[in-house]
Amino acid sequence: MRVLIWLPLAVLGLPFVSFLVLALVRPLRRRGRAAGVVSMVATGLALAGAFVMWWEGFNSVATWSWLPGDGGPMATVGIMVDPLSRTMLVLVALVSLLVQIYSLAYLADEPAPSLGRYYAYQSLFAFSMLGLVLSPTFLQMFVFWELVGLCSYLLIGFWYDRPAAARAAVKAFWITKVGDLGFIVGIVMLWALTGTFEFPALLRMAQEGTVPLDGLGLIMFLIYLGAVGKSAQFPLHVWLPDAMEGPTPVSALIHAATMVTAGVFMVTRAHALFALVPEMLTLIAWVGAFTALLAATMACVEGDIKRVLAYSTVSQLGYMMAAAGAEAPSAGFLHLLTHGIFKALLFLGAGAVIHAVGTNDIFRMGALFRAMPQTAIVFIGGTLALAGVPPLSGFFSKEAVLGGVWEKHPGLPFAMLALTAFLTAFYMFRVIFLVFFGNRHPGGHPHDPPALMRVPLWILLLLTVATGVQLGLGGDGHHGPGWLMPLSIALALGGIVLAWLTYQRGLIDPARLAAWLGPLDFLARHRYGVDAVFVGLYRGFLLVFSRLIGWVDRYLVDGVLNVVSAWCLRAGDRLRHIQTGQPQDYVYGVAFGVLLIVVWVQWWQR
């Protein structure tokens, strides 16, 4: 029984201890690689614990009183282990560990103190994300939600002396903060409505139908806003492509597999509550499908390999949300898991390419297959999974999502997702043909990365294949109609063929293709103006407001004080002249005062 409590606590606590040690023990932290070892050991042990819990099918909920209140604690902290969090724990711990191992080689040129700081942040992130997954209450989840947001800021802006990185970190923080505001307001309003923050109680109330429906729609919308920010749904998706300024392993971990999936995780966790407001689910599905398509179009015109992957992540997050909105949360969660693995694979593979070639620009790469065969193979494997080609895992999860959406929203959302599938295959293979094939040579001597980078890549590829095979063999009933499977395969192959024709064979000129889709191409290249809207709001409202407040503070608030002080000084300066320094004048004053007192006593005290 006790195992059920201390094991999750250990899984949660080990990365935290690692963070504390690295944060407080400066000599250790300044020795880069040693810090890395500490962090990796902690994460590895956490992974072992998570794996044991997953394998044994642990279920437990344990909470301790946190904020007191009458009639029981107002808020509690604790851990909650159930099928959802078990699987997520393994994903988070595994990808964290692989990324940390990979980083040792990727950031080998980093000065040791800087590397130590990196691993401190990585430990903090692992702790925060694991805590988020294990949270049994909305409030605790929010605390960890903010913590992962902080880690994201710290890691995106890891190279803080680069202005672009610093700006990107701040942008990520601001945009997700918009969502977080809605989230906390929604959480508190939900508490006001139901009297509790705790998931087990809330989900039970939802199932029993004892949740008051009055105003629930607004509450769930506000809570959904948190997921919109964190999981980069339209229109709060703009921070994710800019977040690529951080080191590539960070992008793989945070902005592909774990942090951004927190929104999907939360929606899946609270799905029973969302289900009480069907309009919300419809909104989630539509926004998800729209986001997926929008991001896919933007990925088609990107030249930076990491940005392509970033838009791809936004797009796939849209898929997951669409599934959740279509009342198929298990399909969305399955896609979360498979995507986490192959997207991390793709990012780490891209990192290997960037490391070898020294640039992110796909138009400056080419014919890398010969030079980096292992990297190419794993990257192509990940791409096939992303495009949804069987028997890789992506195919099964994508099909599950499409099937779920077809059942509930067979119109425009399904069409958007189907078109997105086509575009996904297209833009990913566009990257592959431009980077690994063709006859341009990027110069220098690119080669396969060192073992510390290669091994995680192969592990992720193996997992992608293995989960795919397991899903295929498991075959837990194909969702959706029978024509769905051939359709998804056709869409994937169609995108691949189009990319092949355009970029490998040169039969279709990409410039003419772009011109044919003229206005769409223009909009996609300018990101549909969403960024511009945010910049405009920031400059137009926020900065103007700040300047106004600054003026009020300087001239009114400080002004009052300055005027009063000036009066005091002037009065003092004038009163000074009473002090002549001659005692006779003082005696005169005393005598006069005594006279006044005598008069007062004689006259007034009648």
């Binding site: 002090q579 002549t580 320094g581 001659q582 005692p583 006779q584």
Partner: protein
């Protein structure tokens, strides 16, 4: 002679002393004014003692005389010190504590 005659006398002497303190330029002149004021107090004390038959007034007067002596000694010492430093005892020139 009725009591109030002595009281009036004491009051007059006090006021004359106060006037001296306030108007004389020489520091020693100011000290003389203070002497007069203290002596007026003595006259008052003795007059009340005589007319009420209580000897406490005379005793009090003896005390004040002793204190006056001490105070004059210190005051004159200070005036001498000032003269040594500033070469003047004119009150108008002694305004070092001017604000």
């Amino acid at each position: 002679m009725p009591l109030h005659a002595y009281l009036v006398l004491a009051a007059l002497v006090f006021v004359i002393g106060l006037f001296g303190v306030l108007t004389r330029r020489n520091a020693i002149g100011i000290l003389l004014g203070i002497e007069l004021m203290l002596n007026a107090v003595n006259i008052n004390l003795v007059a009340f003692s005589r007319f009420s038959g209580d000897v406490a007034g005379i005793v009090f007067a003896l005390f004040t005389i002793a204190i006056t002596v001490a105070e004059v000694a210190v005051g004159l010492a200070i005036v001498i010190m000032i003269f040594r430093v500033r070469r003047t005892v004119e009150a108008d020139h002694l305004d070092l504590l001017r604000g």
